[in-house]
Symmetry: C2
């Protein structure tokens, strides 16, 4: 119908016989437009199926009513969070824009700064940063961090009780009679990873069980990164009887490595994860893990961000509880 296939505000204006400015006023419900004019414009809008371009609008005005969720990659953790944000945004008038790069996270620390620079100030009214790698971002727009770099930072933050969860996991293994326990840590730059290691160490210490340095490894939260350290751990002369992995993906990868080494789970090796992403239940055997209320964290992040956008005062940090989910990857010694 129109030259380039897109109908613009100009097309509407021309068709309705008014100026572009007037159409803009009608669309944005500004007062100072005659009822008759407004009606005519709206009719043309409906007729032509006009929708304002988010891009053009955002370049000019400060509000877009869209919330950005910036993630390094769409994997089980971030998509689980997305589900929570989607539920929470319902009825708020906000729309969601989840942005992810080409996934080359490793070589790409600081992705959140890059994405923010690309989208911020314009496209989105506020942003949720999922497991960001850096902590000091320009406060161009309101920002909420989920499970950030170094814990309760300058940024308003949502996280879960990693320390308590790690203690619970370790005590569980201890209770089952394990003493030689391997630890496969997560991304060392994340506060959550540090706290999980700390929880592990303190629970071990409290039980009077020594932590062998050779049993402490870094997994890195991504499946690929965990394979080598898992293999090292499992081919040790004196193999651990249990492994506490920093997150579920690492735990699942560990189970695969174990299987490839001819080890049965949980008969020969107990494995416990962290997060309780849906994939953990799909694993073979179903993974015992520490549950984080990830969807709820996403929902809370949205609520906090909207409050921030509206200038509503509130506590800048929310920590949600974790809990043990027993499935079939651990056994008593």
């Amino acid at each position: 119908m129109f030259p380039n296939g897109r109908v613009t505000i100009g097309d509407v204006a021309r068709t309705a016989g008014v100026s572009v400015a007037t159409v803009s006023k009608v669309i944005n419900q500004r007062h100072g437009v005659a009822a008759a004019t407004s009606e005519r414009v709206l009719e043309v809008v409906g007729q032509l199926g006009y929708e304002s371009s988010l891009v053009a609008r955002s370049l000019r005005s400060l509000r877009t009513n869209v919330i950005g969720i910036l993630v390094a990659e769409f994997e089980p953790y971030s998509t689980e969070l997305l589900k929570g944000t989607s539920a929470a945004v319902e009825g708020t008038g906000y729309e969601l824009l989840a942005y992810s790069g080409s996934g080359l996270t490793g070589e790409n620390a600081g992705w959140e700064r890059r994405y923010l620079a690309r989208l911020g100030g314009t496209l989105i009214d506020g942003a949720i940063l999922v497991t960001p790698t850096v902590v000091d971002v320009d406060h161009d727009i309101p920002i909420v961090a989920v499970d950030p770099h170094l814990g309760p930072s300058a940024l308003p933050t949502i996280d879960s009780d990693s320390l308590g969860g790690a203690i619970a996991a370790t005590e569980y293994l201890l209770r089952l009679g394990h003493r030689r326990i391997g630890f496969l840590g997560g991304r060392p730059d994340l506060d959550s990873a540090r706290l999980r290691e700390q929880g592990f160490r303190s629970a071990m210490a409290a039980a009077g069980v020594p932590v062998h340095p050779e049993l402490m490894r870094v997994g890195g939260y991504r499946p690929g990164a965990a394979e080598l350290p898992a293999r090292e751990l499992l081919t040790l002369a004196e193999r651990p009887t249990a492994i506490f992995a920093g997150n579920d993906l690492t735990a699942i990868q560990t189970m695969e490595v174990a299987r490839s080494l001819g080890l049965r789970i949980p008969e020969d090796l107990s494995v416990i994860g962290f997060d309780n992403v849906p994939e953990s239940a799909l694993a073979n055997p179903p993974l015992t893990t520490i549950q984080q209320p990830i969807q709820q964290m996403g929902a809370e992040a949205v609520r906090m961000l909207i409050d921030l956008i509206n200038g509503t005062e509130r506590a800048p940090h929310l920590r949600l509880p974790t809990s043990l989910v027993e499935r079939s990857s651990c056994r008593a010694l």
Copy 2:
């Protein structure tokens, strides 16, 4: 550092002592810039941490190297698809932008047209539409539909073998000895839902088992929508011994309704779903279902879209196979 917190191309130009146009050329690697100038500009860019605004750039030029994924809502199916797209985009140079409205899908048929109008032509180079409700969208930019309205439509499409899957599910139930089988259909506007019903009917017919109209209901693919029809089915004077649900979420909801009615699964009722979203394994009991390779569908959608953007010829329709996943929600009569 700069007035509004954002550093723009103008800031870079001023600092480097060149024109905005020159900076633009350097950024976009256009030829016709002296090596020395280019170097200086790049240095300033790094120093200032400049990133071009996606918004401003996209308003002017046709390529943005971002692929849009338009979904009604971030739920298990669409997020599973997202995982596949994320993996497929790696190394392609494209970034992903997943867009979702406030989730009021029901009253909001045609959301994809709206989103496309808001983002298309500018922000994104191409779009993947997930279970779109309408089939005739303006071909402003290349579009791939996943599991669309009316099957292989005008739009290039990725889907899975719903017909075959439904036949497999029904035959499985029949093989277990069930005869009185209830069917809880999905969104009636989707081709996949139609094919699943058709598969159910044809498998029943092939086995010579009559289909009772009172046992055929519409679930609607969303958990809320399934509750009432599930309850009706289960409170029938002559209750079905098994239910085939149009998707996993409906199946899970059905199990909950059954439980609330005091029915045990699978002892009193067998339930089979469709999709095999991760949640199906988390259900209690773990759900027997028909698996769609959802992640793979997402990956294929990305590949098809990139081919479309590049003008590469290829078949406009790809149908992936489905298969039965036996878990614990069905039993032999």
